[in-house]
Every structure is written in structure tokens, then in C-alpha cells.
């Protein structure tokens, strides 16, 4: 138990002091209690800001801690969502449907990632190839799903729906409890907190420390006796599964999914959330994802086009002036230099 505690509070993420953990617990308690003051609609909205956290955390793990940039995490988001829709849609009336559907969704994510990862990591390709091929994969998935309109495109009783997407996806269900509204909020909150803490344990573990070494210098790490290909593959699959978790939460929230969820614009979002927060810290990414999702939602009420331009500008600005991410840079510099930390920050290390 004390070993687990040590892993939890390890140095590979922001925040180690008692004050930090006290604040963390306080925020968690607040988040649990907060819905009593909210309507069901507002609670579900807040859940929406949270459900994108897993995919961002997975990308942070992959990119920030292991040095592998994937532009196509949303492909696994979509795969999980569609597979869940197909499986649980065919099992309507069966209370185990959603659970089976969720497991299938995550399993297919893991399998797809494993196959793709095998070709990429065991081929020892150059670093820039991974972002390109993952992007291509998700674009092709979008094109494929987009042309599945028509009755012949169905699995069992569930239609894929082409560009209009799949509708009528069942909510998650545990026994007789259908998870919507308030219960959905708690469901997402628990998953996010547990997910974050598990990844925190992972990065502080021995396995996590070797990930850092692989990020820094793969050849040196291999020459210490590690099979880096296998480890990169494992981290890639973990990131895909976390992306899939977000996908599941999304369809269980909105009961629909369209091919645009795996398209170019959507694919850019996790990269933006992670870059803005700071890819080398899980906590920074958790915070930035919630904040940016809230921002996106608020801005799109004004007009979707402008929201994306603003986000594009934000990305470019952050890459120029806060290459390590806003939250990570502040967390590193404020303790050292106070407000003067905000000057001369573009000398960080993106890449």
C-alpha cells in the first residue's frame, strides 16, 4: 500500500506536496458534491467537458512521456464508439448489452492499435512517420465511414449511416440502472479520476521511467538491454484504449456518432489540448482539456467557424511562445522566478 502511495505521489507529474494532495482531494469532493446545485442538463454538460480527458491523457502519455506523436488518436475514439453502437445496438433489451459493447469497443481499439503499431515500431521507422501515418489512418477511416450510407451498410440490425452517422446508440447500463443525467456525470467523473490516477502510477513506476529513457534516446535505451519496440507498442496500445474510453463516453452521452468525429478537425483537438497544457504533465493536460472544451463549447454557441480559427491561433501562439505548454511552463518557472517567468518563455523545447 505504501508502495502504491509512493507511486502515486512520485515526481513524474506536477504536484507532490501535502498541499497539492489536499487541494486535489478537496477539488474531487467539490466535484462530487457540486451537482446538487445543478440541473440534470447542466450536470450532463459538465460531463461533456470531462469525457474528452481520457483521450488527451492517452496522447500525453504517448507523446509527452514516450516521445511518440500520434495525430490519429481520434481514430480509436471513433472505432470504440462505432463498435459499441453496433454491439449494444444489436443487444437491445439485453441488460448486459452496453457492458459487452464497451468491452468489444475497447478490444477492437487495442487490436487495431497493436497491428498498426507492429508495422510502425518493429519497422523502426523514422520519428516523423508516425504522426503522418496515424493521420492518414484516421482520414481513411473518416472517408470509409462517410460512404456507408444506405441500407446495405449494416451490421446485424444496426445501420452505419454514412455521413449522417449512427443514431439511437444505447446509454450505458449497469444491471437495471441506466446511466444518464446525474448518474452519467458521476460515471464520467469516476472514470476520469481513476484513469488519471492509474496513469500517474504508471509513469512513476519502473515502466514509466524506461518510457522517459526511450523518449530521450531510443538507441541508448536499447543498448541498456530494453526491447524498445515492444515497449513503444504497449504504450501506443494503452493510448489507443484511453482514446477508445473517450469514444465510449461520447456515444453513451449523446447516443449518436458521425464520421466527422474521426475527421481532420476533430483529430487536431487532442493535439491542441495536450500542446496547450503541456505534454510532459498528465495533470496539466487534464486541466487544459477541461478548460479548452469549456472554451470550445462556449465559443461555438457564438459560431463554430470562429471557434476553430481561435483555436488554430491559440495553437500557433502556444507553439511559438510556450512550447512546453502553458501550465507546465508556469509550474516550472513560477516557483523559481515569480512573475518574471512570463518573459522569455519561447526558449523552451518543443519537438
Amino acid at each position: 500500500m505504501s508502495h502504491l502511495l509512493k507511486l502515486l505521489t512520485g515526481p513524474e507529474d506536477i504536484g507532490r506536496s501535502r498541499w497539492f494532495w489536499a487541494a486535489f482531494v478537496a477539488v474531487c469532493v467539490f466535484l462530487f458534491v457540486y451537482p446538487f446545485w445543478l440541473s440534470e442538463f447542466e450536470a450532463t454538460n459538465n460531463a461533456y467537458y470531462l469525457l474528452n480527458v481520457p483521450i488527451a491523457l492517452g496522447l500525453a502519455l504517448l507523446w509527452g512521456y514516450c516521445g511518440i506523436l500520434s495525430f490519429g488518436q481520434v481514430a480509436y475514439f471513433g472505432v470504440a464508439g462505432y463498435v459499441y453502437g453496433i454491439v449494444s445496438g444489436n443487444m437491445i433489451g439485453n441488460a448486459a448489452g452496453p457492458i459487452v459493447g464497451s468491452l468489444c469497443g475497447l478490444a477492437v481499439c487495442a487490436l487495431t492499435a497493436a497491428i498498426f503499431g507492429y508495422f510502425v515500431f518493429y519497422g523502426r521507422v523514422q520519428n516523423w512517420i508516425v504522426p503522418i501515418l496515424t493521420l492518414v489512418l484516421t482520414l481513411l477511416l473518416e472517408t470509409f465511414l462517410g460512404q456507408t450510407a444506405g441500407y446495405q451498410w449494416r451490421v446485424g440490425t444496426v445501420q452505419l449511416g454514412g455521413y449522417n452517422g449512427m443514431t439511437g446508440i444505447p446509454a450505458f447500463q449497469v444491471g437495471q440502472l441506466v446511466v444518464t443525467g446525474y448518474s452519467f456525470y458521476y460515471y464520467v467523473l469516476i472514470i476520469v479520476v481513476v484513469g488519471y490516477l492509474s496513469l500517474r502510477v504508471l509513469v512513476n513506476s519502473q515502466y514509466g521511467k524506461v518510457m522517459l529513457a526511450i523518449r530521450e534516446d531510443p538507441i541508448r535505451t536499447e543498448l541498456l538491454g530494453y526491447d524498445i519496440r515492444a515497449r513503444q507498442l504497449v504504450v501506443f496500445v494503452i493510448a489507443a484504449v484511453f482514446a477508445g474510453i473517450s469514444g465510449l463516453l461520447y456515444v453513451q452521452w449523446g447516443n449518436y456518432i458521425t464520421p466527422s468525429q474521426v475527421g481532420l478537425l476533430q483529430a487536431s483537438l487532442p493535439v491542441i489540448w495536450v500542446a496547450v497544457g503541456g505534454r510532459e504533465s498528465l495533470l496539466a493536460v487534464l486541466l487544459s482539456t477541461c478548460a479548452l472544451n469549456w472554451l470550445n463549447y462556449t465559443l461555438s454557441s457564438e459560431g463554430y467557424q470562429y471557434a476553430l480559427i481561435i483555436i488554430g491561433v491559440l495553437l500557433v501562439t502556444v507553439m511559438l511562445f510556450f512550447p512546453d505548454g502553458i501550465i507546465v511552463t508556469l509550474a516550472r518557472e513560477l516557483p523559481k522566478r515569480g512573475w518574471r517567468a512570463l518573459v522569455g518563455l519561447h526558449k523552451g523545447k518543443a519537438g
Binding site: W63, L69, F71, F116, F119, V120, Y122, G123, R124, V125, Q126, N127, W128, I129, P131, I132, L133, L135, V136, L137, L139, L140, T143, F144, Q147, L264, L265, S268, V271, I272, A275, Q305, Y306, L308, I309, I311, G312, V313, L314, L315, V316, M319, L320, P323, H346, K349, A350, G351
Partner: protein
């Protein structure tokens, strides 16, 4: 007589696919080979070229001039991008990827906001030539010829001009090149500009064949990236040529039987297999063959 026409038709298919891949990827490869940067705004630069062509054409400018104009406008824009943003990311490949993606978001969304969802189309210039039961588009034949001319022109540029020499020096060893008096900053800017201009030119060439919309660049992104990945960065010209030919060899029969989309999927699968066998791309393999031949010459 009929089988001759069939053979010509097959060659035509093969050449059109190859030209499509080559032109889609050319701007990207030029930049990659020089600066190890993948420009994710590539699709949007092509879109910009198409937009320039459409606007110019609908003001009465002859099409061939529209294409040249597209090259110039986008090349200028590329120089601007390089000066202000891209040059801060040399040596930081992944950072460059992310920032060019941000730029692509701004450009595509910006185009939507400023110009609306569509620009008026350009009809395909030229008619068609009939041979047996097949008809071949004069326009595509011209595009194929243009692709050959472009690649030959780039070859000449890199191997027979001072700029080309300086560019190759900067590619191989920037510090040494600088020590010898090469202004690498200028070389990088001109190269990025050239790559952007080529993207704009390709976009203008493809404009009559697609609908001209803010996200039109997307359809070229997947094929372009696959071509670049298979080509590799060792030798820009050879990689581009070898890769488009190889991939066209794969796409043409599969696309013919199963349709264009399956053809593109086959390209991705082929790319995965090819990089497993040749991690540094076709250009690395071809470069080694050339070196070996030179040694024993």
C-alpha cells in the same frame, strides 16, 4: 488494334494516377528533403492555389496564366510563413508538425469565413482524344506532361544551378555550408517558398477536376503523405518519382477493380508494408543503387 488501345488506356490510367500522386506530394517533398519538416498546411496551400486560379479565371485570365499566378501567390505566402513562423522550428520536427497544423486550421477555417462554402468551379479545359473505344482527356495528358516537365525542371534546378548546389550543401551539412559562405537562411526560405508554390500550382491544376471549397485540400493530404512516407527524405527528386511510380503501380489495378477509395486504402496498407521493408523509403534504396553504380563506373 483494340488491344493496342487497351494497352494505351492502361498506361494512361497508370500515368494519371502517378501524376496525381506526384503533383500532390511534390511541394511537401521539396520541403521535407531540405529541412526535415512536414508541412501540414500543405493541403491548405493547394487550396489557396485553387482559389487563386478560380478567382483569376472568373476574371477572364487564361487558365495557363492562372496556374502560374497560383504558383507565385502561394510561393509568396510560403515565404511569409517561413519568415514569421516556420523558421523557429528548425531542428524541432514534431513542433513544426504541430504548428503547421495550427496554420492549416486557420487557413481552412479562414477561407470558409471569408469566401463562404464554395467558389465557382472551373470547367476542364481542352476536349478529349478518342482511341478505339476509349477517350482520353487532353487536359490530363497535359497534366501528365507537366508533371514530367516539373520533375525534370527540379532535377535541373538541383543539379545544374548555383542555388541547387547551395541547397544540396545545406541539406547535407548546414553548419559546413554556412562555413563555406552559403546563406542557409535564404536557402531555407527559398525552398519553403518553392515547396509552397508547387503546392499552389498543383492545387490550381487540380482545380478543374474537383469542387473548390475550403476543405478541398483534405482529399490530397492522404495520398500526398503516403507518397512522401514511401519516398523518404534521402533524395527528394528520386524519392518523389520512385514513390509515385511504385504507388501508382499498386493503386491503378486495385482502384480499377475496386474503386478509388479502396485504391487509397491499398496505398496505406502498401505504405505500411513498404516502410517495414525499407524504413528510409524508396529514395534511400535508389540512392544506394546509384552510389554503387557510380563507384564501379
Amino acid at each position: 488494334m483494340d488491344s493496342f488501345a487497351t494497352i494505351v488506356s492502361i498506361l494512361y490510367q497508370f500515368a494519371t494516377n502517378g501524376a496525381f500522386l506526384l503533383l500532390s506530394a511534390l511541394g511537401l517533398i521539396v520541403i521535407l528533403g531540405m529541412m526535415n519538416i512536414i508541412n501540414l498546411a500543405h493541403g491548405e496551400l493547394m487550396m489557396m492555389g485553387a482559389y487563386t486560379a478560380s478567382i483569376a479565371w472568373h476574371r477572364g485570365v487564361p487558365f495557363w496564366l492562372c496556374a502560374i499566378l497560383a504558383f507565385l501567390v502561394v510561393a509568396l505566402f510560403g515565404a511569409l510563413l517561413e519568415r514569421t513562423i516556420v523558421r523557429r522550428f528548425y531542428g524541432r520536427e514534431l513542433g513544426a508538425l504541430v504548428v503547421t497544423w495550427g496554420i492549416s486550421l486557420i487557413l481552412s477555417q479562414g477561407a470558409l469565413t471569408v469566401f463562404g462554402p464554395f467558389l465557382p468551379a472551373i470547367p476542364i479545359p481542352g476536349g478529349s482524344i478518342a482511341l478505339g473505344q476509349y477517350s482520353f482527356s487532353v487536359y490530363w495528358l497535359t497534366v501528365i506532361a507537366l508533371a514530367c516537365v516539373l520533375i525534370a525542371g527540379l532535377w535541373a534546378l538541383y543539379n545544374y544551378t548555383t542555388f541547387g548546389l547551395q541547397a544540396r550543401a545545406a541539406m547535407q551539412n548546414p553548419a559546413m555550408a554556412r562555413a563555406l559562405g552559403v546563406d542557409t537562411g535564404r536557402v531555407y526560405m527559398l525552398t519553403f517558398s518553392l515547396g509552397a508554390g508547387l503546392a499552389g500550382f498543383s492545387g490550381a491544376l487540380f482545380a478543374p477536376t474537383v469542387s473548390i471549397a475550403p476543405f478541398m485540400g483534405q482529399q490530397f493530404v492522404a495520398p500526398a503523405f503516403i507518397t512522401v512516407v514511401v519516398g523518404g527524405a534521402t533524395n527528394v527528386i528520386i524519392g518523389a518519382l520512385g514513390s509515385s511510380l511504385l504507388l501508382s503501380l499498386i493503386k491503378t489495378p486495385i482502384g480499377f477493380v475496386f474503386g478509388a477509395f479502396v485504391g487509397t486504402v491499398a496505398l496505406l496498407l502498401a505504405a505500411l508494408v513498404i516502410i517495414r521493408l525499407m524504413p528510409d523509403g524508396v529514395s534511400a534504396v535508389l540512392q544506394r543503387l546509384i552510389d554503387r553504380r557510380n563507384r564501379f563506373a
